[in-house]
C-alpha cells in the first residue's frame, strides 16, 4: 500500500493504524493493497470489453515518463534567445511548444505567463491538480496538497515567502487558477549575468519550480564563470 507520508490532500496526518505492511522497494513480499487490486481489476475489465487496448496503459506510461521539466526549460530558453518565438509563445503557448516538437497528448490549451519587472506570475489549481503536464511532467505533491491550493489565491506573497521568494511591493503578483481545459506555464525572467550563456546552458538553469512561479531562475555558480 502506498500509505506513506505522501499525498494527503487535506494536510492532516493519516491514520497509520499499522495494520498494513510497509514493504521495501523491490521486496519480494510486496502485498498489493485494496486500491491497487481495484486498479488492476478495472483495467482488466475495460481491456476484456475492448474499451481500451491491452497495451495502452503501458504505452501511456512511456509517454508520462518522457515528460519532464527539461521540456519546459527548453521552451523558456528558446523564448529568452529568440524574440519571434517568445512572441508566438505568448500568443499561443501550445502551438509554440508544438513548433519545438513537444506534442500535447491531451486536449488542453496552454497559456504562457511572462514575468517582468512589474508582474510576477504564480500558477495553482485550487480545485484539483491541473498542471501543464505535456511540458513539465507530473506535478510535485505540494502542488496537489491543501496548503498550496488554499493559500496561493488568498495570500500569494506569504506563500511565495515560504519558498524563499520575496516579491517587492511595487511588483504585482498575478495568480492563475488552472482548469481541466486551460493550463499555465510561467516564463520566468532571464537572470542578469547570463548574456554569454548558450541556449542549452540557459535551459540548464531553468527549474520546474520557476516555471510554476514559486521561485525565480537563478544563475548557478558553475555558470557564473562561463565565458
Amino acid at each position: 500500500m502506498p500509505e506513506h507520508e505522501h499525498d494527503h490532500d487535506n494536510g492532516h496526518a493519516h491514520d497509520h493504524g499499522g495494520a498494513h505492511a510497509h514493504p521495501g522497494v523491490g521486496s519480494s513480499d510486496y502485498v498489493p493493497g485494496y486500491f491497487e487490486i481495484l486498479e488492476r481489476s478495472i483495467t482488466e475489465l475495460l481491456v476484456e470489453r475492448k474499451l481500451i487496448g491491452p497495451d495502452e496503459i503501458r504505452r501511456q506510461i512511456e509517454v508520462l515518463d518522457s515528460r519532464t521539466p527539461a521540456l519546459g526549460a527548453k521552451v523558456v530558453a528558446r523564448a529568452w534567445v529568440d524574440a519571434g518565438f517568445r512572441k508566438r509563445l505568448l500568443a499561443n503557448g501550445r502551438a509554440a511548444c508544438e513548433e519545438l516538437g513537444i506534442t500535447f497528448y491531451d486536449d488542453t490549451g496552454l497559456i504562457v505567463l511572462e514575468n517582468t519587472d512589474t508582474v510576477h506570475n504564480l500558477v495553482v489549481c485550487t480545485l484539483c491538480s491541473c498542471y501543464p503536464r505535456p511540458v513539465l511532467g507530473l506535478p510535485p505533491d505540494w502542488y496537489k496538497l491543501k496548503p498550496y491550493r488554499a493559500r496561493a489565491v488568498s495570500e500569494p506573497r506569504a506563500v511565495l515567502a515560504e519558498f524563499g521568494t520575496i516579491i517587492p511591493d511595487d511588483v504585482e503578483v498575478r495568480v492563475s487558477d488552472s482548469t481541466a481545459q486551460v493550463r499555465y506555464l510561467v516564463l520566468p525572467k532571464r537572470p542578469p549575468g547570463t548574456e554569454n550563456l548558450t541556449e542549452e546552458q540557459l535551459a540548464a538553469i531553468v527549474t520546474r519550480d520557476a516555471m510554476i512561479g514559486v521561485i525565480p531562475v537563478e544563475i548557478r555558480p558553475d555558470h557564473r564563470q562561463a565565458k
Partner: protein, 112 residues
Amino acid sequence: MAGKEQLLTHLPTEFGGLEAGPIQRVEHELEPWEKRCHALADVLDFHKIINTEEKRRGVEALGAEMVGKLTYYERWIVAFTNILFEKGILTPDQVARKVEDVTARLKATPPA
C-alpha cells in the same frame, strides 16, 4: 468562516481561499500502481469514457471523509469505478468478482 455555510460554499475538493497551514514541500516518486492509475486516467480521457472534468467531479462526489482519508490515486480509482457504474459501463457485481479473481491470482503468484 467556520459555520455550516462552508459546506455549501466549499465542496470537499474546493480549497481555494481556505485557511491552511504552511506549504508542505513534499514530493514522492509514484508507486508503479499509481503511475498505472495516472495512465488509466489519460487513456479513459482519450477514449472519451471519462474526461478530466468528470474525474474531478467524481472525486468531489466521494464526500469530505473519503477525500480526506484516501490518498490521491486511491481517490482517482474509486472515482473512476463509481463513474463507470453510473455510465452503465461496468456493474458492481462484475467489479466484485474481478477483485476476487485478481486477489486470488496475486496470492498465487505475487508481483515481482
